[in-house]
Symmetry: C2
Subunit: 320 residues, 2 copies
């Protein structure tokens, strides 16, 4: 059994590592009204961190601050042990190096009170590979954010082989209380979910640039003027289902399935057998949650218009 | 030399194929004030087309119609020859089957007046492979839209080996006049640009579902709550550059470069050699177009807030 503080009673958060992601977490937790203690070994870290928080604060103010939220509630600790001694939750955002993460998580484990959850911002290392040197690995897990953590809602939560179920549940609930949108994964997977998807796109982009097939600007424009407009509010699966017209995902797969054999990316597709077809159709029905194709089309259309207007690409939109 | 009508004098557009994409083109050209003639061999095509246009029209009205635009300016022709006889531009959106496209484009070529450009909506076939049976292949090219064509701005324009340069330039200009955002590719590539990128993501998603690694809903949520929010207005390259902090793309590649060796997707990455690193850094500088990292961060932050609010995910946003 755990004697962990209930997630909604957390008042003090410790952020270890104060670069782009760690500093972004600091800004997020400050804006949500927490006391935040930060630690980073770089000599210029405190100054850079203050600059990052100051730069983010106008956006956070427009977003709406929690009661009592203030950048003054940030403390920069001189040593890791001091940063962790009073922690009620620890978010680790150190550089993406496996050995470094292993050592650091063992140190954080030793310095942090029992039953306090320690989450790693790792972009893709499974916690099973990172928790090997900690004395109490059951409260170590992944809480993977997106840049900037103070604005992008998603956090992917997943434990390693030695992580306790209570810790996974605690962290998922804590992040929700702290204003995040949580996907709790039942199974470890390198790169988790979103990074596997965006990494596939990113690698194809790198191949295209390396081979002179497209420029960086063409790649970026092809997303922001194209599929990116839909993905802000409707995911790639449901979006593709609407390409099937009134027949939805099933018709789309029947129509575009043969394209999976085409060299339209360097990534080979899985066999589109009846099990995968059925899983995609059923999954889209679950994601549609009772909305008909016609309702989804209307929703997508309004969403694209809203996004175009909000990003200044329609008359009447904000000039940005 | 061409005697083609100047792109801004086009009044009559012919759409061949009236499914989801062809019908979406019909709706777009009607909303931009063109006379549109459609043809589709399916017996129920006229009825489905009217339904699609009727469903899209409220969104198009909110978007802002061109002067004189009306769904009444749609004519459904009983035969391909009649649809093409008076055409000033032809958009082909037949099913994605190579043999069918080859035959159809040859028929369209025979039925359409000389010097009138014929564009294919193909999702990824190179025009070189499709124009083989046409008597006058020089005016055949790809004009690849995104669903729905009446709302998503992007069109990718690219010719085949037998396409004339004048036709590529004419089509790029025509689409711009017709309200689209155009990427004119100098080189054929299966899947063009945006579909190569989204196809990589889509194939990774299919693999994950096929292997029980993630559900359709988790995949969709991971994008809409995560990277998708940024991609509505800032592409994947510039977005990643901001993960490098004040060091931008160069620092990001130095920091996350080793991740390219990690199994974070099934797609293997290219070697991150100095030429690729330099191309990415220079490309991001071009895309940034003089904006500093700090300015891009402020722009991204405001963009995410605008998109969150526009899609009903912040207080004060539209409830949708």
């Amino acid at each position: 059994m755990t004697t962990a503080l209930p997630p909604d009673e957390v008042r003090r958060v410790t952020c270890v590592g104060a670069g782009v992601i760690g500093g972004g977490w600091v800004a997020h937790f400050l804006a949500r009204g927490y006391d935040v203690t930060a630690w980073d070994p770089a000599p210029d870290a405190p100054e850079k961190l203050r600059r990052l928080v100051d730069a983010a604060w106008p956006a956070l103010t427009r977003l709406g601050l929690a009661e009592g939220a203030s950048p003054e509630r940030l403390t920069v600790a001189p040593a890791l042990e001091e940063a962790c001694a009073q922690a009620q939750f620890v978010q680790e955002s150190a550089p993406e190096k496996l050995e470094l993460k292993r050592d650091l998580l063992a140190q954080l484990d030793a310095a942090t009170p029992k039953d306090v959850v320690i989450a790693s911002s790792t972009s893709g290392y499974p916690m099973t590979d990172m928790q090997t040197q900690a004395a109490d690995p059951q409260r170590l897990l992944v809480g993977h954010p997106f840049n900037p953590p103070y604005l992008i809602p998603l956090v992917e939560v997943v434990g390693g082989r030695s992580t306790a179920q209570w810790a996974v549940e605690w962290a998922s609930r804590f992040y929700e209380v702290a204003g995040k949108s949580v996907i709790t994964m039942e199974r470890e997977l390198p790169g988790f979910i979103a990074n596997r998807l965006q990494e596939a796109l990113w690698r194809e982009a790198l191949h295209m640039v390396a081979n002179g097939e497209a420029t960086v600007k063409e790649i970026d424009d092809s997303i922001t003027e194209g599929p990116g407009l839909r993905w802000a509010f409707m995911g790639p699966c449901l979006t593709f289902a609407l390409a099937g017209g009134e027949g939805g995902m099933g018709h789309m797969l029947d129509h575009f399935g043969p394209s999976l054999k085409s060299p339209w990316t360097r990534l080979e597709a899985p066999e589109l057998d009846s099990a995968l077809r059925e899983a995609m159709v059923a999954g889209c029905e679950e994601a549609a949650d009772g909305r008909s194709i016609a309702e989804l089309v209307a929703e997508r259309d309004q969403g694209v218009i809203d996004v175009l207007r909000a990003t200044g690409r329609l008359p009447g939109g904000d000039a940005r």
